[in-house]
């Protein structure tokens, strides 16, 4: 066959390509375009309405000298690291326990996954009451006779972020558990048999054989958790509205408050650009390692 008769690469799977045009446009115009617009206007002094009046890096100088923004970043780091670690660890342990061919597995799975069906707002309100010193856990324990018992994370500036973390874990670990369980079920039974024949203890089998084999599942879980961390907002609003004081503020809330409440779009855009930047800093090296590696292989 001559070269000219080979189908043009561009027209291969033409139907699929045509069908994906709306999504490509959405991605380009709304996601990329919207982000570029936001970054551009973060260099202006826009107040309530966007205006192209450039002021250089002023908004960023102000942002990084604002105590509330610094507190937000610190909170996000604490919340992020802990929620990542605990979600993965608890999710995996629950999945491994469920995988022991126990009775009523369906029931347990439903119980663990159920909180995920609730929105962050509902979760936040539920935990706001549970952690309320007068009506919640502290009140109940004191009612049982332990008068000096004290557990009021939402009213203590130093530990309030952990109160939010508890609610987030309660809501999110069920999903991670299900992902892990699916991963565990995907491991061939023969691997377990082989490990047993070789006399490897169960714990070691999990750590050195099963977990490395579950790498794709872990990456999926990681992306889902990480996305949830950066955008955490509604949970904080429902539980503490950023209080006491500014102790539980998060970046997303700063963006919202300054864009809409303080009527200072420029400042809000600068903050959201910083959030975008932090996501890019995490995603790009990871994507390079993940997808760049395949080409070499």
């Amino acid at each position: 066959m001559s070269k000219s008769e080979r189908p043009n690469q561009l027209f291969r799977n033409l139907n699929a390509k045509v069908a994906s045009i709306p999504m490509v446009l959405t991605a380009l115009v709304i996601f990329v375009g919207g982000s570029a617009w936001t970054v551009l206007y973060s260099f202006t002094n826009s107040k309530l309405l966007p205006r192209l009046n450039f002021v250089g890096l002023d908004q960023y100088y102000r942002l990084w000298s604002t105590p509330r923004w610094l507190v937000s970043i610190e909170n996000l780091l604490v919340y992020g690291v802990l929620s990542l670690v605990f979600s993965l660890v608890i999710g995996f342990i629950l999945a491994a326990l469920l995988d022991q061919k126990i009775r009523f597995e369906d029931t347990f799975r439903t119980i663990f996954l159920y909180p995920f069906a609730l929105s962050f707002i509902v979760t936040g309100l539920v935990w706001q009451w549970l952690l309320n010193p007068e009506f919640g856990i502290q009140g109940v324990v004191r009612g049982l006779g332990w008068e000096s018992f004290s557990f009021d994370p939402l009213y203590n500036s130093d530990i309030v972020i952990y109160g939010i973390l508890i609610a987030a874990l309660w809501q999110g670990t069920g999903l991670i558990m299900c992902l892990m369980l699916a991963g565990l079920r995907g491991i061939d039974e023969d691997i377990w048999k082989a490990a047993r024949v070789d006399g490897i203890p169960t714990l070691k089998t999990y750590l050195f054989i099963i977990i490395p084999m579950m790498r794709p599942v872990f990456i999926t879980a990681l992306v889902i958790i990480a996305a949830g961390i950066v955008k955490v907002y509604d949970l904080v609003v429902a539980q503490t509205s950023g209080g006491p004081g500014i102790a539980s503020e998060v970046p997303a809330k700063y963006v919202y408050d300054y864009m809409f409440f303080a009527q200072n779009l420029g400042q809000g855009f600068a903050a959201s650009t910083m959030m975008l930047l932090s996501v890019v800093v995490v995603i790009v090296p990871w994507a390079y390692l993940e997808f760049g590696g395949k080409k070499r292989g």
């Binding site: 309530l48 007068e134 503490t240 209080g243 006491p244 300054y258 409440f261 009527q263 400042q267």
Partner: protein, 412 residues
């Protein structure tokens, strides 16, 4: 056929009464009046507006102004304006007006002689931009009030204080009796507002104007304002056990005698009224914390977004008229606990506290409030600072004052 026609005709006639008078125009009005006393007050507006043959569609947004304003603004800028909306007159809607999104009411105002009926004059100034009037003030709300629970002081065995200094002195006795001396809810604007009140009461009206109107950062860092921060430090210590968020929950602590008092605007009065308490007997009010009796002419106003629909525009005019009507003003303000914007109406039914307010108003001791003087951006920075200051006992007074001066220096 004929039978079908008959039933159709019948259906139309039965449906008509529910549709109301043919000329009725629905006008959506958004506001953030959702606590018990506020809801009762806004119902008076709705009743009066419905009586003009139009229909008030209530668009209450819960969660106080901080939550409601962004929603209102994004609806107006997003091209889905409501018929009318509440704002605090002053600078909150400034840019919306500049962008031409709000209706110019000057013509209506001249026709109905608003300039003559609205008292004090500075209220209308808050609605005016470049000589044009853009809003209808409906009440005067002043922040400078201290609400005290008589029952709490009786329980603690100390007389009800007559000013802020006596109150601070009585705090240990209250604490000993298991009462929270001062209730300050967790919402940021409450801490920030309480400080502004202390600034007027302890520092004086001139100090307030120097800081917020002239934006004198040097003065804000100086010894006179340091005195105010000292008072704020007292307030923070007195308030440290308040575990509530909303202002009306904090007011409720005072009503139920669990807290000694609260620094809050006169909108708190509506809550005392709903709870069936009597001024002077169950609770005491001290305007200007008993130190500096002035009334700030902040308050609520209605703005009217520019609409294309002629019918609705006409209904907007009817609403503007209704809001300033003497009868509506009396009915609304009695329920709301605020002062009317007209000097020519008779508030016989006013209670002790409102009478105190009217007296101060008649004496002309009025001053502008932060809503008129500061941009929302500055207000928010202030709120961030004071909510942190009130929640963090280890933040020193000096550090807070330094940051306050920085905010004043960059204020616009």
């Amino acid at each position: 056929m004929r039978y079908q026609f008959m039933t159709a005709a019948l259906a139309v006639t039965t449906a008509l009464p529910f549709a109301g008078p043919a000329a009725a125009t629905d006008l959506e009005v958004t506001h953030w009046w959702t606590s018990g006393g506020e809801a009762a007050a806004v119902a008076e507006f709705a009743k009066a507006f419905d009586a003009t043959g139009n229909h008030w569609v209530d668009g209450a947004i819960a969660g106080s102004g901080g939550t409601a304003r962004p929603i209102m603004i994004s609806r107006i800028t997003g091209g889905d304006p409501m018929g009318a909306t509440q704002f605090n007159h002053g600078r909150q809607a400034e840019e919306l007006v500049q962008a031409g999104l709000m209706r110019d009411l000057t013509e209506l105002a001249t026709r109905d002689k608003w300039a003559e009926i609205v008292q004090p004059k500075s209220l209308l100034d808050g609605c005016t931009l470049d000589g044009k009037i853009y809003c209808v003030p409906v009440n005067i709300h002043s922040w400078q009030w201290l609400w005290l629970s008589n029952a709490a002081f009786e329980k603690a065995g100390v007389p009800v204080p007559k000013n802020w200094n006596e109150y601070v002195a009585a705090a240990p006795a209250l604490e000993k009796a298991g009462i929270i001396p001062l209730a300050v809810g967790g919402q940021p604007w409450q801490a920030s507002g309480a400080f502004d009140v202390l600034l007027t009461a302890v520092g004086g009206t001139d100090a307030f104007l120097k800081v917020y109107r002239d934006k004198d950062a040097e003065f804000a860092a100086g010894p006179e304002v340091a005195k105010v921060f000292k008072a704020a430090d007292d307030a923070r210590k007195m308030a440290k056990n308040t575990n509530v968020q909303d202002w009306n929950q904090a007011t409720n602590l005072v009503i139920s005698g669990k807290a000694g008092g609260q620094i809050m605007g006169d909108w708190a009065q509506g809550e005392f009224q709903v709870a069936g308490q009597t001024a002077g007997k169950d609770y005491t009010c001290l305007p200007g914390l008993g130190l500096n009796e002035v009334i700030a002419t902040g308050g609520d106003a209605f703005y009217f977004p520019l609409l294309q629909d002629a019918e609705k525009s006409k209904a907007q005019e009817a609403l503007a008229k209704t809001l300033l009507d003497p009868k509506t003003q009396v009915a609304f303000n009695l329920k709301k606990g605020s002062l009317p914007v007209r000097g020519d109406i008779d508030l016989k039914a006013a209670n002790d506290c409102m009478k105190k307010g009217l007296e101060i108003l008649a004496k002309g001791s009025v001053m502008p409030w932060t809503d008129q003087l500061l941009s929302q951006d500055t207000q928010k920075q202030k709120e961030d600072l004071f909510s942190e200051f009130f929640a963090k006992p280890d933040m020193t007074v000096e550090e807070a004052q330094k940051r306050f001066a920085e905010i004043v220096a960059s204020a616009d």
